[in-house]
């Protein structure tokens, strides 16, 4: 079927396109303009036409997301006609699709819990999904590094974990920090040693950076640094960036590290000020690096992280006063409920810093919009955030309503920049798609997957981005006037990577000894999803 999306303002920064024109679609792909009469015409007059949004870091599946729902049953309630971003997978898929998002990645899939995570991802309708396999605190990897085995062995173990868990990429979360926590540590930084292995966090990071490069994983190593949320955390991010030594690296929820200590000698007691300019400057100097923001928004949420050392340290800030730390088979996870106080000084400053980072960005394709859902707040805040980025006046009104400290300790108030629609598309489409190595999305050039979001152009950008006029997934209309009209199921993207047979045998023996269950117990076979084709293969870089 040939479809013409007619007369919209088509915004595709990857083609330098921002003008009223048509987008043509056939067989689920964008095609060149056709002379043939279309079988269907979608009137996009008065609308903005963009590629479907791509999410790189949102906690939408996995054991810790499940635990958060059980810890806070009141947070996950679905009311009639009010789907909840903390609720079911169905609600999550619906809410993303309504905003024009068509792909979303869960960044924290522990290999020991891959099957449950993948079962859950498969129950998120409407979107294509993917999971990043978490390594860096697992005993088998730490043993390899401690015993100074070859880089090839580390590479083979990473490949095996990606293949077994059917992941799209690799993430490391405070490398070694969870293990150190289990041995009593409550502070841990890049050059601290994991006590039981005599390895620094830096050594583990290095091993994983090399392995991801050697395997040609399209998505660079996705890094959650140490010292998240602490005054002086900017040092951790910059040190980690320098440690990458030019290798590709992605920093997760960088806002939570953009906190310069006010009192350098007593960083934990003097409070913090924005380090957004420092991080923007470092990003400009390091074309190998990308980051996503982890924007804070106000209200009740649950923080979810595999960084159990930080979650344990943050337990006393839990609101309401209940929390979970699970010392799991590698990281485990921590759930700490948190309320970002509307007009609270700290929350307001965090809010300002996130916006400042995006507005100072030297390259919006490398500073991707996330709220680290649900850690900074729900992903449903994106429309409002985009509005504030695009509208200096609205931003000034917002800042004026916050405590003075937000303006005093950040540079937000002085920034004149207003994001263009092309820059919005870079922040939410082309940037994240390039970062994930998904060449078939994030743009509208011929050959692109026909994932398209059509928004009514209106001054109220919040309203515009919250409920798309039309959303197409693989060429099929799934949203009309902000409502889901077709419950398609999407695919889960998994990287095609060959696992080494020798490492598979060795790992099978290791797992048998440790769990009384071999490698097959940890697999995610197609047969776990009867009567459905869930997975779609993504190739490694050539």
């Amino acid at each position: 079927m040939l479809t013409r999306i007619a007369g919209g303002r088509v915004v595709d920064p990857t083609a330098g396109r921002d003008a009223v024109s048509d987008v043509w679609i056939e067989d689920g792909r964008v095609v060149a303009p056709s002379d043939r009469a279309p079988d269907r015409t979608i009137d996009a007059a008065g609308c903005i036409v963009m590629a479907g949004g791509v999410e790189v870091h949102s906690h939408i599946a996995g054991g810790n997301v499940v635990l958060a729902r059980l810890l806070l049953p009141e947070l996950g309630v679905s009311e009639p006609d009010a789907p909840n971003p903390h609720g079911s997978g169905r609600d999550v898929g619906m809410l993303y699709a309504r905003m024009g998002y068509t792909t979303a990645v869960e960044p924290a899939m522990p290999p020991v819990n891959a099957l449950a995570t993948q079962l859950e991802l498969a129950e998120i309708p409407l979107l294509d999904r993917g999971g990043l396999c978490v390594m860096g605190n697992d005993d088998q990897l730490l043993q390899l590094l401690r015993d100074r085995e070859s880089a090839d062995a580390v590479r083979d173990l990473v490949a095996l974990n990606v293949a077994t868990s059917r992941a799209l990429g690799v993430k490391v979360i405070n490398a070694g920090g969870a293990d150190a926590f289990k041995d009593g540590a409550v502070r841990f930084a890049l050059d601290d040693e994991v006590p039981a292995y005599g390895l620094t966090s830096r050594t583990i990071l290095n091993g994983l950076l090399d392995a991801v490069e050697a395997l040609k994983v399209p998505h660079p190593l996705h890094v959650h640094c140490s010292n998240l949320g602490l005054p002086g955390a900017d040092d951790s991010l910059i040190e980690t960036l320098e440690a990458a030594e030019g290798r590709r690296i992605h920093f997760a929820h960088a806002q939570f590290y953009a906190y310069a200590a006010v009192d350098k000698d007593n960083p934990l007691t003097g409070g913090f000020t924005s380090a957004a300019p420092r991080i923007a400057e470092a990003l400009a100097r390091h074309p190998n690096a990308t980051l996503d923001i982890g924007q804070v928004v106000f209200g009740q949420t649950a923080t979810i992280s595999l960084d159990i050392l930080r979650q344990f340290s943050g337990r006393k800030a839990a609101s309401p006063r209940k929390w979970i730390v699970n010392a799991g088979d590698a990281e485990g996870g921590g759930i700490v409920p948190f309320r970002y106080r509307d007009r609270g000084p700290t929350s307001s400053l965090q809010f300002a810093i996130g916006l400042e980072m995006m507005l100072l960005s030297p390259d919006p394709e490398r500073t991707i919009l996330t709220t680290d859902h649900p850690n900074g707040g729900p992903f449903t805040a994106y429309p409002r955030i985009l509005h504030l980025l695009m509208d200096k006046e609205a931003r000034d009104r917002e800042v004026a309503a916050h405590p003075k400290v937000a303006a005093e300790r950040s540079g937000l108030a002085g920034i004149e920049r207003e994001y263009t629609l092309s820059e919005v598309a870079q922040l939410t489409r082309s940037g994240p798609a390039k970062l994930l190595g998904l060449a078939d999305r994030g743009h509208l050039r011929p050959g692109a997957r026909a994932d398209v979001a059509i928004y009514r152009d209106q001054p109220d950008r919040t309203a515009m981005f919250a409920r798309a006029h039309r959303v197409l997934k693989d060429g099929a209309v799934i949203v009309e006037d902000g409502e889901v009209v077709a419950w398609t199921r999407g695919h889960t993207l998994s990287l095609s990577v060959e696992a080494d047979a020798g490492m598979a045998r060795r790992t099978d023996a290791y797992l048998q000894g440790r769990f009384g269950a071999g490698l097959s117990s940890f697999t995610v076979p197609d047969a776990a999803f009867p009567d459905r084709e869930v997975f779609e293969a993504v190739s490694c870089r050539t």
Binding site: P73, G76, P80, A116, L119, G184, F312
Partner: protein, 377 residues
């Protein structure tokens, strides 16, 4: 035979049609048991959403002892493999954990990972049955019972109880351990004691590391909890009667609903063994069973046993995770062949997930009020 109506063997298709009619005519159906592979549990939640049923796993009561404590105060937990690999002290509470075999394994091993590696492991028991086959130090339960002992222990650990006390030594051992693990069965100790235990463990982490290790039920309850959470945003006991998931552990207790006459039809799902509740004889019930005899319910349909007849995602108690379990090796076909070509082919049983999907498709064709479409009732 693999399908029955009122105890009489019938073709499977006839039984599935009868099951669909039984559920279609119901005003308040429940889908219970849920002792099955993840795909079947998922299909059960999908069916419940479509027909406005409520759900309750066989594991319900014990599961909610832990879920209640979790929602009240949270927890600090670890896994069986971490207990085996790291713990220098394991405290086993009550009698139930001894039936799992885990204490025996923990007794013969010592920590191999982390800062306690190379040290011996102390196995302690409070209120246990006194298993003479496993070397351990036994502390008798007090007269007020195990829940009270846990409270006393918490007070002792926090230094809130002065003077000599029979459990003072146990408290001091817990404080002195490098990686303590407290093993318990939530259905044995109950929600209040589980909450107290979580408090004890959290207190201990102010000075050292200590984690709770709840043992799972044998009826897939912890896998059901996960499927329920991603399907509904809530724990397992939910009702879709108003077209959206409503979570209420009391209201959607299937036994209570049967007792009070709130349900008029049921589907009992147990592709793995689970005790059949007596109310399935009173309430018109469809039973999907891995080991049927035919007279368990009004309509009985035999289904394949997951992890035997076919590979399946099942709760793995020693991994404390949903794990893939391959089909058992098929020895039977060779025996059949040995008996000669004339032997009848064994009937390949369908999976429960396939039957549930079939039921959902059939029920979509019935002219009943669909709560997804008309939620106003």
């Amino acid at each position: 035979m693999t399908a029955w109506i009122d105890g009489q063997a019938v073709e499977r298709g006839t039984a599935v049609a009868a099951a669909a009619s039984l559920l279609a005519e119901a005003h308040g159906p429940v889908i219970a048991g849920l002792c099955a592979e993840a795909a079947a549990v998922q299909a059960a939640y999908d069916l419940a959403r479509a027909i406005g049923a409520s759900l309750d796993p066989a594991a319900g009561a014990g599961l909610y002892a832990d879920l209640g404590a979790l929602a009240s105060g949270g927890a600090m937990t670890t896994t069986p493999a971490e207990a085996r690999g790291r713990a220098d002290l394991v405290l086993v509470l009550g009698a139930a954990p001894w039936a799992s075999g885990l204490p025996g394994d923990l007794a013969v091993e010592a920590p191999v990972r982390g800062r306690a590696a190379g040290q011996p492991r102390a196995l302690l028991a409070l209120g246990g049955p006194g298993d003479g086959g496993v070397r351990h130090v036994a502390y008798p339960a007090g007269e007020a019972g195990l829940p009270a002992d846990i409270g006393l222990l918490r007070g002792l650990v926090a230094g809130r109880i002065a003077g000599p006390h029979p459990l003072a030594d146990l408290a001091s051992r817990l404080r002195g351990a490098l990686y303590g693990v407290v093993v318990y069965d939530p259905s044995e100790i109950g929600a209040l004691a589980a909450e107290m235990l979580n408090g004890l463990v959290k207190d201990l982490n102010e000075v050292t590391r200590c984690f709770a290790l709840p043992l799972g039920d044998p009826h897939q309850g912890r896998a059901v909890t996960q499927v329920a959470a991603w399907s509904t945003g809530q724990g397992p006991r939910v009702g879709f009667g108003r077209g959206r998931p409503e979570h209420d552990p009391w209201r959607f207790d299937a036994a209570r609903q049967a007792e009070s006459g709130e349900i008029d039809a049921a589907l009992w799902l147990a592709s793995l063994p689970a005790p059949l509740p007596a109310w399935t004889r009173r309430v018109p019930t469809v039973a999907l069973l891995g080991a049927p005899t035919g007279d368990e319910a009004r309509v009985v349909i035999g289904v394949g046993v997951p992890g035997e007849a076919f590979g399946a995602a099942l709760w793995h108690p020693r991994r404390a995770a949903i794990a893939w379990q391959e089909a058992a090796r098929q020895e039977a076909p060779r025996q059949e062949a040995a008996r000669g070509a004339g032997a009848p082919q064994p009937d390949v049983l369908p999976s429960a997930a396939a039957i549930l999907a079939d039921l959902q498709a059939r029920l979509a064709a019935f002219p009943v009020s669909n709560p997804e479409r008309s939620a106003s009732c």
